[in-house]
C-alpha cells in the first residue's frame, strides 16, 4: 500500500462508488480536460460537476467535453433520472442537487458563496443520497466554495480528494477544502486521472493504486 504524501493512512478496504461529484472554478476547463477523458467507458458511477460560470450566458461545457469523453456528457435537466456512467454539468444560474431516486434536481434559490451553481449545494445533497458510496473531488479555483461540501461528503462516509494546491492554477479552492477537510487525499491531476481509470467495469475505488 502506497502512503500518499500529506494524507492519512488509506484503508486497504476498497470502496464501491456510485457517484462522483466534482467542483471547480478558475482553471477548471484545463483541469477537467485531464480528468474527464480518463473516465472509462465502462464506468458505473454517475458524475456530477459544478464549475462556476457567468450566470447570464448559456454554457458550452457539455459540448466541449462530449467530444473528449468516453462517457455520455450532458447538461443537467430537472427531474432527469440519474444514469450510471453518465456525466452531468450543472447549468449556469441554477443550483444542481441530487434527490431521491436518484434523480437530478435544479433550484434557483439564492446564491451560495456568491455562486449559482454552488459546489456546496451539490456536494451536500449528493452526500445525503450516496453517503459512503460517493467520491468528492475539489479542483483548482479562486473561491472557498466546495470546502463545506467536501467536509459533508467525508462526514457521511464518502471519499474526499483535493487537487494539490501547488499544482492548481488557482490554489484558494483546494487550500480551503484541505483546511476544512484535513483528512482529504491530496493528489496531482495526473494521480487523480490514474485513479479514475481504475474505475472500469464498476471496480471499487482503491486509493492504494494512486502513485506519486
Amino acid at each position: 500500500m502506497v502512503r500518499l504524501p500529506g494524507t492519512s493512512p488509506v484503508s486497504s478496504a476498497a470502496s464501491a462508488i456510485d457517484a462522483i461529484v466534482i467542483g471547480t472554478s478558475a482553471g477548471g476547463v484545463e483541469a477537467l480536460s485531464v480528468l474527464l477523458p480518463a473516465l472509462p467507458a465502462t464506468l458505473r458511477a454517475a458524475v456530477f460537476i459544478v464549475m462556476h460560470l457567468p450566470r447570464e450566458r448559456p454554457s458550452l461545457l457539455a459540448e466541449i467535453f462530449r467530444a473528449k469523453c468516453a462517457c455520455p456528457v450532458s447538461e443537467a435537466q430537472d427531474k432527469e433520472p440519474v444514469l450510471p456512467g453518465s456525466v452531468y454539468f450543472a447549468p449556469p444560474d441554477y443550483h444542481l442537487l441530487i434527490d431521491k431516486g436518484p434523480h437530478l434536481a435544479l433550484s434557483t434559490d439564492e446564491l451560495v458563496n456568491y455562486s449559482r451553481p454552488a459546489i456546496d449545494v451539490l456536494f451536500e445533497s449528493a452526500a445525503d443520497i450516496y453517503r459512503e458510496r460517493l467520491l468528492g473531488i475539489i479542483l483548482t479555483g479562486a473561491n472557498q466554495d466546495g470546502a463545506a461540501g467536501l467536509k459533508a461528503v467525508h462526514r457521511l462516509g464518502g471519499t474526499a480528494l483535493v487537487q494539490r494546491p501547488d499544482s492548481a492554477q488557482a490554489s484558494l479552492m483546494p487550500q480551503s477544502a484541505i483546511a476544512q477537510c484535513p483528512t482529504a487525499h491530496v493528489l496531482s491531476l495526473e494521480q487523480m486521472a490514474d485513479l479514475l481509470r481504475t474505475l472500469e467495469d464498476g471496480n471499487a475505488l482503491d486509493l492504494s493504486h494512486a502513485t506519486n
Binding site: D78, K79, D99, K100, H103, A105, D109, S125
Partner: protein
Amino acid sequence: MSRTQEKTSAAPVKDFDIELQLLIDAIYLKYHYDFRGYAGASLKRRLTTAMSRFGCHTLSQLQDKVLHDPKTFPALMDFLTVQVSEMFRDPAYFRSLREKVVPLLRTYPSLKIWVAGCSTGEEVYSLAILLREEGLLERTLIYATDINVHALQKAEAGVYELDRIAGFTDNHRMSGAPASLSDYYTAAYGRAVFDKTLKKHIVFSDHSLATDSVFAEVHLVSCRNVLIYFDRELQDRALGLFHEALCRKGFLGIGTKESLRFSAQADAFDELVQHGRIFQKRDG
C-alpha cells in the same frame, strides 16, 4: 409480524428525514399549507438554513416553535416559498413570447393570463410591460397567484430596490423591447415604483397548486422555476391544472431548464419554441 419484517428489511431512516416528515405534517395540520409534495433536496436545504436562522439544533425544535410561537410560521413561509427572481429573467423567453406567442394572442378580442407562483411579482410586471409594448395590455387580465401572502403583498406594491434595476434594464433590452424600462417606473428614495396603470390589469390572489383548483379559463400560463420545487406527483398535478385552465391551443411557458419530458403530462402539450420552453396545448 409484518412490523418485525419491516424493521429488519428497511434501510435505517435518518432522524432528519423523520423530523422533516413530522414538521411538514404539523404545518399541514395546523396551517393547511401542503408541502408534502415538495422536492426533498431543496426543501431539506431550505429547512437546514431556517434551523440555524431560528436558532434550532433540530427540526423537532423548529417544529415546537412552529406550533407554539405564532411569529415563527409566517417567517418560515418565506424560507420555504420565496424565490427572488428578476424582471425579464432569461430574456430569450420573453423574446420568444413576443415573436411566437403575441401574434397569436392578437387574434383574441380579450385575453386572460395566469402567472402561477408569482412570488414577489417581477415576472408579472415583466409580462404586463411586454403586453403594453405590444399593444395588448388594455384587453388583458393577468391573474398573479402564490401561496405566500407576504410575497403577494410585495408583488402588489410593485416597488423594487433601485440597485436591481440595472440588471432588469439589461434583461428588458435583450428581450427585444422597443423602448426603455425607465418609461415604466419612477425612481425615489432608492426604490423604483412601477407604473400603477400596469396594476389595473393584474389581480393578485392566494392560490395553491398543491391544494386548490382551476379558477378561470386562460390563454397563457407562465409558471417558471416553480415546478422544480415540486416532486413528480405534484408537478403532474400542477401541469394538470394548467392543462385544464388553458383554452384550446393555449400556451404554457416554463423555466429555461425545466422540462415536460419526465412528466405524465408530456403528451398533452406540443413544443412551440424549440428549447424555448414554450408549449401549446395539444388538440383533442
